[in-house]
């Protein structure tokens, strides 16, 4: 039985042309996308890559000789599909700026210090129920030149593989209460307020570790196959 990934779910995503985010103007298609039925090519997806995940790849604070500077945090959550089912063995990759708001990427020339003890990349595989956990440093805000005085709210980039090639998701996790939210065209490219809220992690006191690290919870919801069998012929 082939199951259907409902297209309505895609309404949560930002419009590709979002002029307040200037780079979208020349990189968004100008012609309408062509709808097509999902074939096996779209409904299957890579189920490997996990063999490259090393045991401590989810701890970004122990990748170098010393400890990185900044506020140590735990980021954890549930990768699930839109029907509420956990996604086991999903590959979750993340990358982020350091505590000063600087990436190690050569193109990042923000005049804030690099941290020799922080790469800012990690990966993990979700467990049998779809849960994941990272230990990292709270990233700083950084300027990005999109408009006068443009600063990105602190965020962590996430890349997630679900059950199929069309459930692939790249997103950003934000921190609760960030004063930059009203001014960020990337965050606000998501027009629905409830959908925007799903990109904001929640402070998790219960899993905050005394004398060690604050904890944030970030659940990631992927497209799911609802229980309705797809009609073979439309």
């Amino acid at each position: 039985m082939t199951l259907l990934y409902p297209l309505q779910s895609l309404a949560a995503h930002p419009p590709r042309l979002s002029p307040a985010y200037r780079s979208t103007v020349k990189r968004a298609p100008s012609k309408p996308l062509i709808p097509m039925r999902h074939t096996l090519s779209e409904l299957t997806g890579p189920v490997y890559g996990h063999e490259t995940v090393r045991e401590n790849d989810n701890d970004l604070t122990i990748q170098h000789k010393g400890e990185p500077l900044g506020e140590r945090i735990i980021v954890h959550g549930h990768v699930l599909d839109e029907d509420g089912r956990g996604v086991p063995s999903a590959l979750v990759e993340l990358w982020q700026a350091n505590a000063c708001g600087r990436y190690i990427h050569v193109v990042d020339q923000h005049p804030a210090p690099l941290d020799p003890n922080f790469t800012g990349a990690g990966r993990v595989q979700t467990d049998a129920s779809g849960y994941y956990r990272f230990i990292t440093i709270k990233p700083g805000a950084y300027p990005w030149g999109n408009h006068h005085n443009a600063w990105r709210p602190a965020h962590i980039h996430f890349s997630v593989f679900g059950h199929s090639f069309i459930s692939r998701l790249v997103t950003q996790m934000y921190f609760p209460g960030d004063p930059l939210f009203p001014f960020d065209p990337i965050f606000n490219s998501v027009t629905d307020e409830r959908a925007r809220a799903r990109m904001i992690s929640s402070f998790d006191l219960e899993n905050t570790q005394p004398e060690w690290a604050l904890c944030y919870r970030f659940n990631i919801v992927l497209r799911g196959r609802n229980a309705t069998p797809m009609e073979n012929k439309q």
């Binding site: 949560a12 699930l80 190690i104 919801v221």
Partner: protein, 201 residues
């Protein structure tokens, strides 16, 4: 631990300009690659091919900070995913590749020519590779397909048939003359007169 049914999916956000050291370090950064642009392992059966091209923006300027991901069947048309439950012999081909474009917007994948995969009506599709395009300035990635100009099955492919005839060429990689292993060229135009056909899936 039971949770409520979510009220929707997590919205997509751009990969931004700085994904390379995390997702495609390619030896330039001290982080191990989960995936590469070479899908071929010595024991894989099938015709070795290269697919290459350049990604352009709406001004025709090459896009140096683009990430491409491909997904494809093996030479007999089988996907390396347990969801592909058809009784076809398995082999070691994984079928997924990832690359960041270079300073000139260029990309290349070394892979094998995929076999044919049926559509939901059991009609054979022409050999194709599914391509996802991510970049700074793209809030949500785009899906397209790579077909091959030397496949007669293109003429009856049910997905190509959905595409206006004058835009089909944007999906069909052209075989380069002379190379030892067949090499196919397909540029990606994010916008403009030659805009690549992207699919809503």
């Amino acid at each position: 631990m039971s949770e409520q049914r979510p009220d929707g999916i997590t919205p997509s956000q751009t990969v931004g300009p700085y994904f390379k050291y995390g997702l495609t370090p390619n030896g330039e950064y001290a982080w191990n690659d989960a995936f590469s642009n070479n899908l071929v392992t010595p024991d894989v059966s099938g015709a070795r091919i290269r697919v290459e091209g350049v990604v352009y923006d709406g001004d025709g300027v090459p896009v140096p900070d683009c990430m491409l991901e491909i997904w494809q069947a093996d030479a007999q048309g089988r996907f390396s995913d347990p969801q592909d439950a058809r009784a076809l012999p398995n082999n070691s081909f994984k079928g997924f590749g990832r690359i960041g474009t270079d300073a000139k917007g260029g990309y290349a994948f070394d892979t094998i020519k995929p076999g044919q995969v049926a559509d939901p009506d059991d009609k054979p599709q022409a050999p194709h590779i599914v391509l996802a395009v991510f970049a700074r300035g793209m809030l949500l990635h785009l899906y397209t397909r790579i077909y091959f100009d030397d496949e007669e099955a293109n003429a009856t492919d049910p997905v190509l048939a959905l595409v206006p005839a004058d835009r089909r060429a944007t999906l069909i990689a052209q075989r380069k003359a002379g190379a030892t292993n067949p090499s196919y060229v397909l540029d990606v135009h994010l916008q403009g007169d030659n805009e690549t056909v992207f699919f809503e899936v």
